[in-house]
Every structure is written in C-alpha cells, then in structure tokens.
C-alpha cells in the first residue's frame, strides 16, 4: 500500500485573463518517490506545482476549486499558514536564481527569516544542504564568496541546497535542469535519486527522456487536463491513451 503525501482532489484553476490552467485534476503524490508531471508547454504542470506551495497566490488567479491535502490537511484553506507551508514544501525553479548574497547567505536565508540566529545551526544547515545537493566539495572553501560567481550548474545545485537546508518534506522542481549541460544535469538527477529516500519529490522534467529516466510515478498533462497516470515506467513503455503514446514517441510536442 502506497502512502500518499499529497492528495489532489478535483483541482481547477483559472487566471484573471480568462485562461483555464487546470481542469478537475485528481492526483496522488506518494511519499519517498519521484512523481513526474510531464507534457507539452502550457499543459498546467507549472501551475499545479505552484499550487502545492501556494506560490500561485502571487499570480493573477481568478478562481481555485478543489482540495489539495498535505498529510490530510487542505492547504487551499484560506486559514492555512502559507509561510509555514512554504517551509515544508520547497521549490526549485527552472532558471537558477541565486539571491544577491554570499553562498552561505543563500543557504541560511530561509532559516534566518524563520528567526534562527544560532550560528552553529545555520552552518550545520548550510553544510547539510550542500552535501545533499552534491555541491559541498566544490564550494566548502569559499562559502563567503558571492553566489553569483558560481557556474550555472553550481547555481542550480545551490538553489536545490538552499531548499534542502530548510529540511522541507516535499521538494518541487520546475524544469530544474533546463539550462544545464549534460554533466550538471546528471549530477542533479543523481542527487534526486538519493533525496527521494527522505523526501517527497515532484518534478516537472524538461524532456520526455528525463521524465522516463527519473519517474517512479508519472502523470501526463495536456491542455490543463490530466490525461494519464502510471506507476514506474509504464507510461513510457505501454501508454494506454493514444495521446500519451503520440507525445512520448515524439509525434507532437
């Protein structure tokens, strides 16, 4: 029996410009696994991801309907403490955005906002995050350098480390390797395989190949709808729906 970290029930979302981004999505996100949301651009993957830590609050959302249960509690409830939620559900973006601070400053930022002042705790968190993101050996000698001095691949792993330093429960990744070279990409993917033992991971991959490589569970999105959901690699080897098969085999996209 699979334990679900997140249960999405009939989630619909539309923006103020009239576009419907998600249409009655129901989906389970199992704990300690990589769930992949894939499909062509504009399918609603990012919108869904941004609902999971309420980052969509910043966008011009007109209506949200349905429920998103995190450990059984609806996070779309207006009474939800979104600050606490975002600490539990961390997010890594497509473009690595390091804050204009030192490497250390990036890693401890979230904890400092939460009021952590003890130097030892902050250093500990920074080191843990960097090690988990496979970046520690490359930057341990220069933690006080500006983060912007890192290479693109290092910056993206720093963004991952920054989320991990907060010890979240769920990690959302929105095409985290879209701007990276193959070596950096495999480092990030390798880190994710390690991380899924302790975390629940939701990944929007930047290609079907990456989806197939990384998925423990896969969901195919098209035009705001969930077309097909499958365990392990079955979506990529034996898709049930014609549109999934067409996309996976590259007939459109």
């Amino acid at each position: 029996m699979v334990e679900n970290k997140i249960v999405i029930e009939d989630l619909s979302l539309s923006y103020t410009d009239g576009t419907e981004s998600l249409h009655e999505i129901s989906l389970n996100i199992p704990v300690n696994a990589i769930s992949v949301l894939f499909g062509p651009a504009g399918g609603g993957k990012s919108s869904l991801l941004r609902c999971l830590n309420r980052l969509n609050d910043l966008a011009d959302v007109r209506t949200v309907a349905g429920r998103i249960l995190l450990d059984g509690v609806d996070i779309l409830d207006p009474a939800t403490d979104v600050i606490a939620l975002r600490r539990r559900v961390g997010m890594v973006f497509a473009r690595p955005v390091v804050l204009p601070l030192s490497i250390r400053g990036n890693l401890t930022y979230g904890l400092e906002l939460a009021g952590e002042k003890r130097r030892s705790r902050l250093d500990e968190a920074a080191e843990r995050g960097l090690k988990l993101a496979a970046l520690w050996d490359e930057v341990k000698e220069r933690l006080d350098d500006p983060a912007i001095a890192l290479s693109g691949g290092q910056q993206q792993r720093l963004c991952l480390a920054r989320v991990l330093a907060q010890q979240p429960e769920v990690i959302l990744l929105d095409e985290p390797t879209s701007g990276l070279d193959p070596i950096s990409t495999s480092k990030v993917e390798g880190a994710l395989q390690e991380l899924k033992r302790e975390y629940t991971i939701v990944l929007v991959p930047h290609s079907v190949q990456q989806a197939a490589r990384t998925a423990d569970y896969a969901a195919f999105f098209l035009q705001g709808g969930l077309i097909e959901y499958g365990v392990d690699k079955e979506l990529f080897t034996h898709p049930k729906k014609q549109r999934t098969e067409d996309y996976v085999e590259g007939r459109f996209g």
Binding site: F93, V97, Y109, P146, R162
Partner: protein, 286 residues
C-alpha cells in the same frame, strides 16, 4: 564595388563626426558657466569670506550664515522628504496593485513635479507660515522644499525598486519569506544605490532653489546663526538674489564668490551621487 564601400564608410564617418560635434555642444554651457564663475568668483574666496558674518550691509565680510542656512534647509528637507518619499515608493512598487487609487497617486506625483517652484513658495506661505503658524522659519521652508522634492525622490526610488528582478522576490517568498522580509533583506539593499542617487539629486535641487523659501523661511539680512527650527535663516540662493538685485554698490566679487560657493555645494552633492551610482554598478550582482 570597393569604391561604394569607401563612400559609405566616408559618409558614416562624416555622420558620426557631426553627431559627436553636436553632443559636444552640450558640454559647452556647463564648462562655460563653471569657468566664468570660477574666474570671477575665485578672488573673493577666502577664509574670512567662508566663515565670517556679513558686514557693512552685506558689502563686506563673509557669507557664513547663508552657508549654514542652506545646510540646515537641506537637512531639514531630507528629514521630511526622504522617509516619506521612500515609503511612498515602496508602497507604489511593492504593495499597490494597479487601480484608480494608484493611478490617481501617480498623476498627482507627475503634476507635483510640474508645478512652478514659486507656486510652492506661495502654498508654503499659506499653509505652513500662516495657517499652521510656523512663521517664516527653517521648519516652514524645509516643509515647502520637501513637497517640491517629493516627486523626484518617489520617482527615482520607485524606478530603483522596480529594477530589482522579480525573480528575487519570488524566490524569497518561496523560501518562506513575508513580503516585508523580502523587501527589507533583498529588494531594498539592491535598490539602495539608486534610491540614494535619487535622494541626492532631489535635495540638490532643493538646496539651489530660491522661490520656495522666498516667503517661507529666507531672511534678507540676518548676521547671526539661527538658534532653532522656528528661526528664519539666510540661505545661499536667496542671498545671491538679494546681493545681485537689491543692494546698491555691491562689489561684484562677492556676488560671484557666493555663486561659486553655491555651485560647489550643489555640484559636490551631484558628484557624491555619481560616485555612489558608479560604485553600485560595478558591484551589482545581476
């Protein structure tokens, strides 16, 4: 084939030369004014001129009270306009959504920038000097200058805040930051050089203005330093106006000496703003 290329090259060079020449003309007035003022005013500058009280109906002695007065007025203007201006800019850039209220505020700011300075002077006289009974004072003059300076500070600060990439805000929020934490820790530090530049340019304009302080705080002749914010004060621009037009048999070195001091005061502030801006550009991390 080669010939046409040469011709084109020649035409291009000719064009660029013309443009450079025209651009150079913009330098001529400022250099001309500076050289003229320095040549005429430099002989008047002495330790006594800078630090003594005026004597003999301002025809001799120094301009110390006018220097101090302009300094007080600039500081007074900063006290009121800087916090208010930056707060307004933060509201407009970070909190306000586009609606009729913010549109009204923006139109008000633009209109404020277009009002002639002498009108501010009259307004200050009516509101601060008479109605609020501050009298002709540093306080009333500073408040009047503040209103005039506000649009400059607000516009420059809002511009500086908006130039901070949106992605920084999103990331900060996604890491569990509140809006205010995001502004204080990320947005403001990044925008600060731009804000400081705008503040200095606004204050510099205030320091050089005559009309707004004419009815609100400037004294014709007051050979002592102001003792409180409710005292009137001499000030460099108004003093210059007085000795240039109101006092017969005025030695012209004193006029140009005063002009030189005023222009150094103002250009000095300008220089500080430029240095801050270029340093910040060199250090910018995005």
């Amino acid at each position: 084939m080669k010939k046409t290329f040469l011709n084109r090259d020649l035409i291009q060079r000719l064009g660029f030369s013309m443009i450079s020449l025209v651009a150079l003309f913009t330098v001529v007035p400022i250099v001309g004014v500076m050289i003229y003022i320095i040549l005429q005013g430099a002989p008047a500058i002495s330790w006594e001129f800078l630090t003594a009280m005026p004597r003999d109906g301002m025809r001799a002695g120094g301009i110390w009270p006018a220097i101090v007065g302009t300094f007080y007025l600039t500081v007074g203007t900063a006290v009121f306009s800087v916090p208010l201006g930056i707060a307004a800019a933060i509201y407009l850039s970070e909190y306000a959504s586009e609606n009729w209220l913010t549109r009204t505020i923006r139109i008000a700011i633009i209109s404020l920038a277009g009002i002639p300075s002498v009108v501010y002077g009259l307004f200050g006289l009516g509101l601060f000097v008479l109605f609020l009974q501050f009298g002709t004072s540093i306080l009333a003059a500073s408040l009047t200058l503040s209103i005039m300076t506000l649009p400059v500070i607000i516009s420059a600060s809002e511009e500086a805040l908006r130039s901070v990439p949106q992605a920084f805000r999103t990331v900060s929020i996604s890491l569990g930051g509140t809006r205010w934490q995001t502004i204080r820790r990320i947005v403001l530090p990044q925008a600060l050089p731009g804000i400081i530049t705008g503040v200095i340019l606004g204050l510099e304009r205030a320091a050089g203005e005559t009309a707004p302080i004419l009815f609100t705080g400037a004294a014709f002749f007051l050979p002592r330093l102001p003792g409180s914010p409710l005292d009137a004060t001499m000030a460099l621009p108004y003093h210059l106006f007085v000795i240039s037009t109101q006092v017969p048999e005025m030695p012209f070195q004193i006029q140009y000496g005063t002009a030189l001091v005023l222009i150094i005061f103002v250009l000095g502030m300008n220089l500080v703003a430029t240095v801050i801006r270029s340093r910040a550009r060199a250090k910018r991390q995005w």
